[in-house]
């Protein structure tokens, strides 16, 4: 209807997407229910093409008379802008027609009773609350389900249902003096059956919190850095962010002019795959209605594709790919973390980052970190209040090894990563 309203108001083209989601979340703290939240969200977003001009809009006021006024105003706003010759709807040949079955909807998520969700949250909480040194432990359970769909004036129409559900636990412990170290862990999935048990999730959260006990400032040194699979995700995100069409075209990308060039160590291959059945970032079509496909971003260290939507593809005079990320798969190595650490001998093992940033144009970065010293081939005493500083391109040129341990349920399947000659700031 929005597309019809838009073209009726004088637009030449329109792309409308709608979503409706229902969600429930529960949190339990120290074995008492703390918060229950229920909600239904409905939203419409609309892109308008009129006289060579473009604008986009969003609303959740879907009463017919309100929507009509909203769309008429949106078309009028579009006409006040300047002509942008690079704006056009995608080539209809690229639209998804028959949607692949991606197993994104689990009726069990939708059907679960509130009491069952509460029982899960309590079981998760029981695994961590009231244990030795625990000041407070909270756990939460989330479930959401709904439909997403889109329609365009040049022939696209698609809709799919999906579910997601997750669990998370967080633990605060008595530390030294006033310090209350904390840690947590959780996961999400499309299917209820894909979630690990509350016990496993609680144990991982507790382990992560306990590892912070007695944490000391680490040394200022140039040494080997082993990044665990969870922390590795954020480094991979920093590599992929500047591969977006907008960043490249605006000159705010370390990957500008680097397509088909070897830019990273050849051990590294990264693929975006939105077609893995049941995976959290799978989807049948992207934000523009283009049929999903698997796309290598880096292949043996060579930059293969940018994330290019139709607009930035035209501006860069390249073939469009997709502007949307799928599941991000880093090709794993062969050895596990223990074997890797044994060989590294001495260095720093990073379990999580705290703050920091990277300049997408130059790759210069500086991150706060928490983790452990690696001493004599073993994971040793906990360290924190340290920074690691360098340049992403140089860092990844010194990529020594990739582990075999990606977490299969995550959107980011990143194994442990090992880098040599990394600058740490500590005491």
């Amino acid at each position: 209807m929005a597309v019809a309203l838009a073209t009726g108001s004088g637009a030449d083209g329109a792309f409308a997407s709608m979503s409706r989601r229902r969600s429930v979340s529960l949190s339990v703290r120290d074995q008492e229910l703390e918060k229950v939240q229920e909600s239904t969200d409905t939203s419409l977003s609309l892109q308008i093409y009129a006289d060579g001009r473009f604008s986009s809009h969003g609303t959740n006021d879907l009463r017919p008379e309100a929507l009509e006024a909203f769309v008429a105003e949106a078309v009028a706003l579009t006409r006040a802008l300047e002509v942008d010759t690079f704006r056009a709807l995608p080539d209809p040949a690229r639209y998804a027609t028959t949607l692949p079955e991606l197993d994104l909807h689990d009726p069990a998520v939708e059907a679960q009773a509130l009491e069952d969700r509460l029982e899960t949250a309590m079981a998760l909480n029981a695994r961590v609350a009231g244990k030795d040194k625990v000041i407070s432990a909270s756990s939460s359970v989330y479930a959401g389900y709904g439909e997403s769909g889109a329609v365009s004036s040049n022939g696209f129409s698609g809709m799919y249902s999906s579910t997601s559900t997750g669990m998370y636990a967080n633990v605060t412990l008595e530390g030294e003096g006033d310090r209350r170290p904390e840690g947590g862990w959780g996961m999400s999935a499309r299917h209820l059956s894909a979630l690990l048990s509350p016990q496993e999730i609680g144990d991982e959260a507790m382990l992560r919190a306990r590892r912070r006990l007695g944490s000391k400032k680490g040394p200022t040194a140039k040494t080997t850095m082993v990044v665990d699979r969870d922390a590795a995700t954020s480094l991979i995100v920093r590599l992929l962010g500047p591969a977006s069409g907008g960043a490249v075209q605006q000159g705010r990308s370390m990957w500008a002019d680097k397509l088909d060039k070897r830019v990273l160590d050849e051990k590294l291959s990264i693929t975006s795959n939105p077609l893995i059945p049941g995976a959290v970032a799978s989807r049948p079509f992207d934000d523009e209605g283009v049929a999903s496909f698997e796309m290598p971003i880096f292949e043996r260290g060579t930059l293969k594709h940018y994330f290019l939507d139709s607009y930035y593809a035209r501006k860069l005079e390249r073939t469009p790919t997709t502007g949307s990320w799928g599941n991000i798969i880093v090709e794993p190595g062969t050895r596990d973390l223990d074997a890797i650490v044994r060989d590294v001998g001495n260095g720093v093992y990073v379990t999580s980052w705290l703050g920091g940033n990277a300049d997408p144009t130059t790759g210069d970065f500086s991150f706060g970190l928490r983790g452990h010293l690696i001493e004599g081939g073993e994971i040793g005493s906990p360290v924190g209040e340290m920074n690691v500083t360098g340049n992403l391109i140089t860092l990844f040129a010194g990529l020594e090894e990739i582990g075999n341990d990606p977490f299969e349920h995550s959107m980011f399947r990143t194994p442990s990563l090992v880098f040599s000659g990394v600058q740490f700031s500590g005491e």
Binding site: R21, D41, G58, N170, T172, G175, D287, S324, D359, S366
Partner: protein, 523 residues
């Protein structure tokens, strides 16, 4: 809305104990757009009241339906209950590659309903503004409760409030034709600011939200909150190198905010911050004395102490500051305030999102920790008055204790004295983001631009350096504070439990004797 996004926001909101602060893009907050001291007393309050029948006038709902919803909300017991109506409208316009060819508009409305029993909360919201939907939503918010009904008020009585950011012309009446010339002007100035500038983009946004809070004890409080922000991003090329940077400014103000002087200043900041990167390097790695330049360096307070003073963490005993009220935590010259009363500031509020009047709250008085930031739940827990700090991103969220504008008052030293006292250290000027672990007290912030200090003199520029430290340790290590306190004018957004709210921050020039500086040592 994609599913992965939902998932991420869930995980983010679940990761209690960690809070982040960011400015949009890769940009640093502004330092110096508006030269002035931070006022030390609240601005004069003018009382404003909502229209006679605001439910109907603003949302097309009659008061009977709201009372009926309140009845359902309190039907299974309640120590407190509130119904939060919100309507927000925003617009943005962007300039890129020489043309203004992108605009975005958004309208969002909904009603959030909350039941509080002790420290337990039931929450539900609806985006459908009908009497039936309100009642249904109220029932689902009340579902967790198991007590006996509490009678709703006979009627809701409008409560007056201050008027700190009323606009002569609301944004809804400002046409895009009035914005385009300003955007064009800024873009043209930015493009001409240096021959090395290759790309200029300008992002303009404005909007207003209207809220109405009806409480179980019969209060009816309204607010209308404007917000605008202008951001400039530059990409420059010199000797085969590319650098990008920018600046931004924000306020609860109208189109009159964009004076020629402010526009010139923000362009000049963007140019300076970008061009200096060509010569900037990293300081040496390790512990160094750090001078925090007046203004945006208020990020130190936000991370090192502000979050830890939010009373929800303290009533749960999960903050490093949980047992420090009344204790001396910093030198005598340190007074730290979180203030919602500053006219037109980004972090200003007339009332918070529970309907309590926003206050000026002294967190640290001459070195002694004196008050947490309270919402209704924590105020009842501690038996104190709320501080007007109960904020929420939107009707989609229950309120939490949050900061507003956090700053340190003037100290006894001068900037010159402070710099002259440093033999080998750095001065930090602009920042992109910060984060804190509430319980451990470890915080970080990221310096985008700064300078080395060598033998008491500011020398070479530095960039991209993370700072990490421990809140209470850092406050003890504040050895000097100057008499030049001021607020930053950048558009900071604070994230906690998956909710973003606009905040301000400020600082005088301050010396911290030792901080961990993310640097690089030559091999």
């Amino acid at each position: 809305m994609s599913l992965p996004l939902h998932r991420r926001s869930f995980l983010q909101s679940a990761a209690a104990g960690s809070a982040v602060l960011t400015v949009p893009g890769v940009l640093a907050g502004c330092v110096d757009a508006q030269r002035r001291g931070v006022p030390t007393s609240p601005a004069t309050a003018v009382t404003a009241t909502p229209p006679a029948n605001p439910f109907d006038a603003w949302y097309g709902i009659d008061e009977t339906a709201v009372r009926r919803a309140m009845t359902a909300l309190a039907s299974r017991g309640a120590d407190h209950a509130d119904i939060y109506f919100q309507h927000s409208r925003s617009n943005s316009v962007s300039y890129q590659d020489g043309i203004i060819a992108r605009a975005y508009s958004n309208v969002t409305q909904g009603v959030g309903m909350r039941v509080v029993i002790g420290e337990r909360v039931g929450y539900a919201y609806t985006e459908e503004l009908t009497p039936e939907a309100l009642e249904r939503t109220a029932k689902s918010a009340a579902l967790f409760a198991q007590g006996s009904p509490v009678a709703p008020p006979e009627s809701f009585a409008a409560v007056g409030r201050p008027d700190r950011y009323a606009l002569e012309v609301p944004w809804s009446e400002v046409g895009v034709d009035q914005k385009l010339p300003l955007i064009e002007k800024v873009a043209t100035m930015a493009a001409a600011s240096d021959p090395a500038v290759e790309k200029v983009s300008v992002h303009w946004s404005d909007g207003e939200e209207r809220i109405l809070v009806a409480t179980l004890d019969g209060k009816l409080v309204s607010d209308a909150r404007p917000m605008t922000r202008l951001r400039i991003s530059l990409t420059a090329k010199k000797n085969g190198q590319t650098q990008s940077g920018g600046s931004n400014l924000a306020a609860r103000d109208g189109i009159g905010f964009y004076t020629d002087e402010r526009l010139r200043t923000v362009v000049e900041e963007a140019r300076e911050r970008t061009m200096v990167l060509f010569d900037a390097r990293r300081p040496r790695a390790g512990e160094l004395p750090v001078v925090l330049a007046a203004g945006a360096s208020g990020i130190l307070l936000h991370e090192a102490i502000g979050h830890g003073m939010e009373a929800d963490f303290n009533r749960k005993n999960t903050s490093i500051y949980s047992e420090m009220i009344g204790k001396k935590i910093a030198p005598d010259f340190v007074t730290i305030v979180d203030d919602g009363t500053l006219d037109k500031e980004r972090g200003a509020l007339n009332v918070d999102d529970e309907g309590n009047e926003a206050q000026r709250t002294v967190l640290v008085d001459r070195g002694v920790l004196v008050s947490y930031l309270h919402d209704g739940i924590s105020a009842r827990h501690y038996g104190v008055e709320p501080t007007g700090s109960g904020r929420r991103e939107s009707y989609r969220h229950a309120p939490l204790p949050r900061m507003r504008a956090t700053y340190m008052e003037n100290g006894p030293h001068t900037r010159e004295e402070i710099i002259a006292s440093v033999k080998n250290g750095i001065i930090a000027e602009t920042f992109t983001n910060g984060q804190v672990q509430i319980g451990a007290g470890d915080y970080t912030f990221y310096i985008k631009n700064g300078w080395l200090i060598e033998d008491g003199k500011v020398t070479a520029p530095i960039k991209d350096t993370n700072i990490i430290g421990n809140g209470p340790e850092t406050l003890r290590a504040v050895t000097m504070a100057a008499n030049d306190s001021k607020l930053d004018t950048g558009g900071w957004t604070c994230g906690k439990d998956g909710q973003g709210v606009p905040v301000s921050q400020g600082l005088p020039t301050v010396l911290v004797s030792k901080m961990n500086v993310g640097g690089e040592n030559r091999a």
